[in-house]
Symmetry: D2
Subunit: 320 residues, 4 copies
Amino acid sequence: MILIDDIKKVLEVLKRRAFEHKGTPMIGRTHGIHAEPKTLGLVFTLWYDEMRRNLARMEKAKEIISIGKVSGAVGTFANVTPEVEEEACRILGIKPASISTQIVQRDIHAEFFLTLSIIASTIEKIAVEIRHFQRTEVLELEEPFSKGQKGSSAMPHKRNPVLSENLCGLSRLVRSYAVSALENIPLWHERDISHSSVERVIGPDGTILLDFMLSRLTYLLDGLQIYPENLEKNIWRTGGLVFSQKVLLKLVDKGFSREDAYAAVQRNAMRTWEEKEDFKELLLKDPQVSGAITPEELEECFNVKADLKNIDVIYERVFS
Amino acid sequence: MILIDDIKKVLEVLKRRAFEHKGTPMIGRTHGIHAEPKTLGLVFTLWYDEMRRNLARMEKAKEIISIGKVSGAVGTFANVTPEVEEEACRILGIKPASISTQIVQRDIHAEFFLTLSIIASTIEKIAVEIRHFQRTEVLELEEPFSKGQKGSSAMPHKRNPVLSENLCGLSRLVRSYAVSALENIPLWHERDISHSSVERVIGPDGTILLDFMLSRLTYLLDGLQIYPENLEKNIWRTGGLVFSQKVLLKLVDKGFSREDAYAAVQRNAMRTWEEKEDFKELLLKDPQVSGAITPEELEECFNVKADLKNIDVIYERVFS
Amino acid sequence: MILIDDIKKVLEVLKRRAFEHKGTPMIGRTHGIHAEPKTLGLVFTLWYDEMRRNLARMEKAKEIISIGKVSGAVGTFANVTPEVEEEACRILGIKPASISTQIVQRDIHAEFFLTLSIIASTIEKIAVEIRHFQRTEVLELEEPFSKGQKGSSAMPHKRNPVLSENLCGLSRLVRSYAVSALENIPLWHERDISHSSVERVIGPDGTILLDFMLSRLTYLLDGLQIYPENLEKNIWRTGGLVFSQKVLLKLVDKGFSREDAYAAVQRNAMRTWEEKEDFKELLLKDPQVSGAITPEELEECFNVKADLKNIDVIYERVFS
Amino acid sequence: MILIDDIKKVLEVLKRRAFEHKGTPMIGRTHGIHAEPKTLGLVFTLWYDEMRRNLARMEKAKEIISIGKVSGAVGTFANVTPEVEEEACRILGIKPASISTQIVQRDIHAEFFLTLSIIASTIEKIAVEIRHFQRTEVLELEEPFSKGQKGSSAMPHKRNPVLSENLCGLSRLVRSYAVSALENIPLWHERDISHSSVERVIGPDGTILLDFMLSRLTYLLDGLQIYPENLEKNIWRTGGLVFSQKVLLKLVDKGFSREDAYAAVQRNAMRTWEEKEDFKELLLKDPQVSGAITPEELEECFNVKADLKNIDVIYERVFS
């Protein structure tokens, strides 16, 4: 099945990227705000894990829709025998429906189209992320862009994440087919033909679009240009504030109540934020903090490697 | 899980109804037009088979959402160990996510809500069918209605299929949650909290509504009043036309070309239709037909039992 | 605009049909159950009124989308003057957007697609109604069907409402575009191009489908075969029960409490229903009823004309 | 009508903000990439213009749903006069439906809910934009945040745009109601009650949610903290590249072919981009460019004010 092969190709490139950048630090963001360091490899690993769920969904959906019926006008085998149905399905390599009317019931088709809609939404998630990463202020990576290729006609310096934007739009289309496919379920009696016009559109369009999307995604991920220096720079853009939690926990280790530790950290964090001073320097100068933590211990709190100590476990869980 | 128990109760009543009416003949309809005879039991069996697929879907969805994470602010286990996550999940009886960010990824939740939306659509399909069966001109069955219960205030003879209509409306609601759940998938970076307000509504509303719908459906199916005499009467409402295909095939058996057989059948069928004459009588009087088929053979063509000869096979496929 | 002309053609045929059948009695149905008499003309009038609202919606939508912009890469007129925009729009016969970014804002396009989705849903409503009217047990009207045309290949007597079923399916498609069009509204900053792929599909597909649907609807309504004898027969199918409310009100006129009147009517109504006896005859034989109402007064209660006395007012409201 | 007042309050604060920041320069972005300068005031003005369209939509929707009916069980005025309907509607301050069945037709309600869905999508658009502006790397503005307020419990320096994220989620909910409202249109005959359960949920939920969203939006816009120094800094973040189009046009003015001008600009733009050198300096050093443009002329190309020369026209169009 083409779509299954497509997903496998996405998985392949995601796995390669995940291992390439297993140790490439980057800043993790929640709410669009810098939180704590992670690695770029984890981003690819997360997508790999989700796309593997999509592979399982698609394999299940394929199995479910591989069904046929030759049971007559209302499904009673009045003028054809069940053996004919079994033989016809055997030849086609599908299973006979346990029971059918004039048609195979449409919950089966809906499950297939809903599967497409989830996969499309995962693709949109990846595409949105890439668009974020490529924005001028972030610029941690960029879509493939060949040297000779022109940028925007009006603004020659621009490299726009148009492939990712396109994937977001296409995702809206594939997602909308879910609604129609669900509305196709409540047909009248032994069948009415209202589902047919819907399926003639969303059948080819849904599968062709998803094939295109998965191929485009593979190309995109494969050729993604990554800027490790920007990834690094962004970690430190807030003057070290993203290490605040580790300082807080260290203070608690040293006997501070959580409230006191929080107050000490926030006091210096706020000053860093507002006056653009280096967080570590401020903490060193804060008597309450420096009275409790040695410079070496503080240094350790600002070491990205400490954040990444459990990455092997995650990789093992996902890839083994 | 309440919803799984709910589905099992629906299955139970459907199975009982299927066997009660295994041999109750009724007319099968395609496009809302009488086609060929079947049995009422087959209707329940069809719903049983679909609802059993829904049970499998829900069990799968339950397994998929039984997942947790305690992996820190961006999913790196920077300040908590994987062992803590494993232990916490073990206590809760769920599995740790292979990889997470600040949250479990929302394709997982979407799969759950899409499952609700399919089940709701199956319920709508059953409800639409009941509404058709109860309409005044058809009246093959009716929703449960207690003797003392008042009908419409203005029109005392009316018994309206309001439970089924209600289920159709509720299905629209549950189905609409699929769209929101899919839109929740593309969150930003390690999480944004936009999904939360959606889930606070569709989580409780979707599950409570479906619980209510399944319970109402069980009550409805359990107490469904069935009118076998109307089922029988409707089979013969078209003067025997619904047996036309068997006459056609018999003529072909007797050496007619398919075109000739079709012409002979349609000629008499049209007269039955337009002049309300009995189809069998007309065929007997048609020299071309009566020259080829004996009255006994023709009688056999109008025997409902012949339509039902393969029902055992279907029941065996579904229920064994 | 083609779609506006299409709607006008639907209106024209609906108006003609409404006046042709202004006085053709039929049974009104609520919940699919016979309620009180009305006329077939009222059905067409209702559709006319709704379709006229759709005409107004489409004219409004056309006005709203007739907008353009030539305001530069981010909408500031940095390298082009507002006069150029005004002139360009004047030539195209559209209005300049008061303010734009790189693009005209997508709430405007959404309003257009939502308008398509309402019109499609109205068409589905009409199509569902026709499918009900054509079902074997009702058969009050049928889709156009030429004499020579073959019915179902397997069942030669069948005339299936396949045009109406097709319209129901197409409505699901057009309706699904509403979701995508709404998701196109929240673009990023001065534009991202995610909306483009969506519009390249739903733009042509939405308008072409609706054009096709409106044309098919016009053909369908224009050639609708109407069976007045079946319309009449269905009014009386419940033995006169559909006049129960008028009997009830007459009893109240005669001094019965509403409760007593209701009890008297329901008592006889239930017997009519269960024993298939004529409702009027039963009422005549009921001493409590016949003691209060003369046979002439009762006769009046069963006169369809009384139900139709205010139809002129409705026609005047809608068509003048 | 509460929702209309809500929209007016949004408009009021947007207008105030638009004039406050009429002259506050910021970088315009297409595809998330820096394009050309604009002002923050234009952002508010754009939203104002769209929200004013929403006001018109809501006023129209209010007018359309202000309709009633007292026309009896099937809409024929069989047992009630049109005068009663007119009087009842007059008292309620609404218009009588020209024609009705047992109910007012649901295209009318759908139009109302679709209006809610557009407005919700506009709110999402604004909320998405604010989330972008607040992200750590951009930080041009922030949601209201009181001095004493705690940030994230784990990361004290974080100020998350949670109000905007919440608005995005709520928008998904309100938008999903559009689908259900459209599915409510094709009711059966003179009414079925399937729409009722839908409306009991989406009626209160849709209006209350939108009221909440509009109020939250007003609060958000009113207290939005704006950082002009960051707005300014971001304009220059690409070393002046965002003025490339003006250089290109100046070269064309000086007799360059568009291709030559493009080549000259792109050559230097690429070097700026890759080597982080100042674009203006590079152009000055480029003999082809400096041979055609004087330093003063070049200086003018890098003047934000030139980009803003037509802003008054836009403000006049929108606000007068």
